[in-house]
Symmetry: C2
C-alpha cells in the first residue's frame, strides 16, 4: 500500500513518473494519485489497471536516514545556527502546511552545495516560526552567535522571515567588536517548491559569511528574477511584502552590496571585521511599547497602552506627528522621566519636529526625535539603551549600529 | 522701521534685492537682515551705511488685501474644499513654523493658474493640520463633498498630507454612486518654498476633477523630478516618505493613471462617473482599534488594548501572523462576536493564513483575513462595515471601494 510521503515510481502508458506521494486534495478524485515530481511540480495521475506503482523509498526510511557532514581541512568553517522558519522547514504531507524542521543534519544538508566552499558546523538553537520569537530568544541567539565568533567562525543564522529583521537588529545592538560577519538568512518559499529562494539565499549567505564584513547583515533575494542577493544592514532592512522573494528592502539607505555568482559588489561603506574578541551586551529592558498612531486613537486608549511602561516608541504621521490631544499625556510621561521616541509610520524619511507647530509642541513636551530609524528599530534600540546606557536621549540620537543615517538633502 | 513680514527693496553696492523680511535666526548677526527673495531663497544682507531700504508693502496690508475670484460662464466650476495642511498654509515669519491658512480667497488664489481651466467655488471647511483630523471630521467632509457633487460639481479637497490617505479612504467608503470625481490633494512643501509641489499638485488635481472618473482619488507628485502627478485610488495609497514630494505610493496596485501637461494617461481600470444623485453613508462605529504586532507585545498588553472594543484590526507579520500566545485572547474576542481582522505589516502582498500552522490556528480562532488591504484601510473599513452592514465577515472580504485587489500570481 502506497502511503503519503513515500517516494514512488509509476509507469503508465509507456511513461515513467517519480515523486513523493502527496495527500489527496478535496478536488482530486478518489482514483487520482497526486505526486510531487523531482522538479517540485505536483501532478495527478489517474490510477487505471495498466498502472505499475513501485515504492522506491518509504517515507519513514527517508526521514530516518542519517547523512554524514563532510569536512575538508583546507576550507574555512562557517557556523550555521538554526532557529526555525521556512528555510529550515518541511511540508507536512498530511495537511499541506509547512512546519519547522528538524535535525542538525537536515539543517547542514539543506543546501549540500554549501560544502563546495566551506565546512559547516550546524547547530539547532531552536525550531520556531519567527512570529513566536521573543526578546528572550534574541539574547539566546546573541550568546550562541558570540560563542562561534569567538572560535573565529563566521556565523549564518537561519531564521523565519516574519521577524527576521527584528532579531537581526537586536543582535546588531547586542554584539560589539565583530571579528567575523553575522549573516541572517531566511526564505520566502520552502525548499520543496520549484520557486524556492532557499538555495540561492543560503549559498549567497555563505559567500557573505566568508567576506571581510564586520556587521550583522541580512542576505535575501534582490529581485524576483535574479539569482543575486542583497546584503542589507540589519538595522535598515524591513520585510516589505508578505510573499515575494525580494520582500526584504533597505529603507533610508542602500543595501551594503549585492552578492551574485560568488562575488560581492559593494554599494555602501561598511564596518570591516575587527581583531580580538567579540563582546556581548545582551541586556534589554523589555518594558517598552511600540505604538502606531492613527486618527481614531483616543487619549484614554493611549494612556492605557503606555501605562506602567519604562519607555514608549510612537510611529507618528509624516514628519513625526500625533494629534494635539495626545500631547498632554506625552508630557506626563516625560515629566516622570519616561522616554518617548517619535518615529514615522511613513517608514521612509527623517523625523523633523521643527517644521510644523505640532512638532514644536511635541519637542516642548520632551519627546526624542527618532531621526531616520524604522519604528521597530527604535523600539529595539530603546529597550537596549535603557538597559545599557545612562543618557537615554543622547544614546537614542547617536548612531550605534548603523540605525541612523547621516543627514542628506533629498 | 522694517518689520518681519514686510516686503522690502534693498539697494546695496549697486545691486537691488526684493523680498520678505524674515525673522532673525540665532546664527545670523544682529546687523544681518534676512529676506526671502521672490524665487523662494533666503539671503542675509549685512546692513551697512550705504544700504537703502524701502518698504514696498507692509505685512498687514498684504494680508488684508482682498482679491476677487474671477468667474467665466464658459468654464466648468470645481468646488475647492479646504481642510488645512501645507497646501493651504502660510509661514509664520515670527517663528519660521508653518501654520494652516486662511480665507476662502487665499485658498482660491493658492494657484491662480487654476482659473485658466475652471471656475472655483472655494470653501474653508476647517483649518487643521491633518494629524488633528478625526473620524468625526471625515463625516463632515463627506457631507460637504456630497453637497457639491449634488450640485453637479467635481470636488477637490485640499488636505494635510499626514492623514490624507486616511480621510480619502473614509470618503471612498462613505460616498456612493459618484457622479463626479472627488480629488484629494496636498503638498509636501509649502508654496513659499522654491521646491514646493503645491502648484503642480493643485493644477493637476483640477485636470483630474474635470475627468470622467467616478471615484475618490489622491493626486500627488509622481516623482521628485517630473511635473506629473499620479492618480491614486484612495483605498490603495499610503504616505511612504516623511518629506519627499513623491511620498504617496499606491501599494498592491498601480496608480489609476498619471496626469501631465493637462493630459491623463490611464494605467488601470477605474469606475466611470455615474448619473443621478450621490448618496452618503457616513456612519462609523469608532470603537475599533488598530494594533501593530511586534515580538515584545505581551498577552496582557494585547488584552488591555482590545478590551471593550467592538472590532480589532491587527497588522501581523508576514502572511498575517501573531505569536501563539495571542491566539487564546483572539479566540475570546471572536467568541463574543467581536470581529478580528488580520492584515500584514509588510504593507505589500496578501494575507494568507493557510500556508503556515500559525495561520491555520488563527483561522480556527475565528479571525477574518484582510486580503491585500492596508492595515489603516482595513481599520477604516471595519468601522464603516460595523455601522452599515449586517454580515461583517462577508463585507470585510468583499471589495467595496477598490480596497481589495483581485488575486494575481506574482
Amino acid at each position: 500500500m502506497v502511503e503519503v510521503g513515500d517516494f514512488v515510481r509509476i509507469e503508465k502508458d509507456g511513461r515513467v513518473y517519480e515523486g513523493l506521494v502527496m495527500p489527496r486534495h478535496a478536488f482530486s478524485g478518489k482514483d487520482i494519485l497526486v505526486i510531487k515530481l523531482r522538479n517540485g511540480y505536483n501532478i495527478g495521475i489517474k490510477l487505471t489497471k495498466n498502472c505499475k506503482i513501485k515504492v522506491i523509498e518509504r517515507r519513514k526510511e527517508r526521514i530516518a536516514k542519517k547523512r554524514e557532514i563532510p569536512y575538508d581541512e583546507n576550507k574555512p568553517t562557517v557556523a550555521l545556527i538554526g532557529t526555525g522558519g521556512t528555510i529550515a522547514s518541511y511540508v507536512d504531507y498530511e495537511t499541506g502546511a509547512v512546519h519547522p524542521a528538524a535535525t542538525t543534519e537536515e539543517l547542514a544538508f539543506a543546501v549540500p552545495e554549501i560544502f563546495d566552499i566551506c565546512n559547516v558546523e550546524a547547530k539547532i538553537l531552536f525550531q520556531k516560526f519567527s512570529e513566536n520569537i521573543k526578546p528572550k530568544d534574541w539574547q539566546k541567539m546573541a550568546k550562541e552567535v558570540a560563542k562561534y565568533l569567538n572560535k573565529n567562525m563566521p556565523v549564518i543564522v537561519t531564521h523565519g522571515t516574519d521577524t527576521l529583521a527584528y532579531s537581526s537588529t537586536a543582535l546588531a545592538f547586542m554584539l560589539k567588536n565583530l571579528n567575523n560577519p553575522v549573516v541572517f538568512v531566511g526564505s520566502q518559499r520552502s525548499s520543496d517548491r520549484p520557486s524556492s529562494d532557499a538555495f540561492q539565499n543560503l549559498m549567497n549567505s555563505a559567500y557573505v559569511a566568508l567576506s571581510d564584513i564586520g556587521e550583522v547583515v541580512v542576505v535575501m533575494h534582490s529581485s524576483i528574477s535574479s539569482n543575486g542577493c542583497f546584503i542589507h544592514r540589519a538595522t535598515k532592512v524591513r520585510k516589505m511584502h508578505s510573499s515575494r522573494r525580494d520582500a526584504f528592502v533597505s529603507l533610508n539607505s542602500k543595501p551594503i552590496g549585492i552578492v551574485k555568482n560568488g562575488k560581492i559588489e559593494f554599494y555602501e561603506k561598511y564596518e570591516k571585521k575587527k581583531s580580538g574578541k567579540v563582546r556581548i551586551k545582551p541586556n534589554l529592558n523589555e518594558n517598552v511599547c511600540l505604538l502606531f498612531y492613527y486618527p481614531g486613537l483616543k487619549r484614554e486608549d493611549f494612556e492605557k497602552i503606555v501605562d506602567g511602561k519604562d519607555g514608549v516608541v510612537i510611529a507618528g504621521t509624516g514628519l513625526g506627528h500625533v494629534s494635539d490631544d495626545l500631547i498632554p499625556p506625552i508630557r506626563k510621561l516625560t515629566k516622570k522621566g519616561i522616554p518617548v521616541v517619535i518615529t514615522t509610520q511613513c517608514l521612509q524619511g527623517r523625523v523633523n519636529l521643527n517644521v510644523y507647530s505640532t512638532g514644536r509642541k511635541l519637542l516642548k513636551a520632551g519627546v526624542i526625535e527618532g531621526e531616520d530609524m524604522l519604528p521597530e528599530v527604535a523600539w529595539i534600540k530603546l529597550m537596549w539603551v535603557l538597559a545599557n546606557e545612562k543618557d537615554i536621549e543622547e544614546a537614542m540620537k547617536r548612531n550605534i549600529a548603523g540605525e541612523i543615517s547621516e543627514r542628506r538633502e533629498i
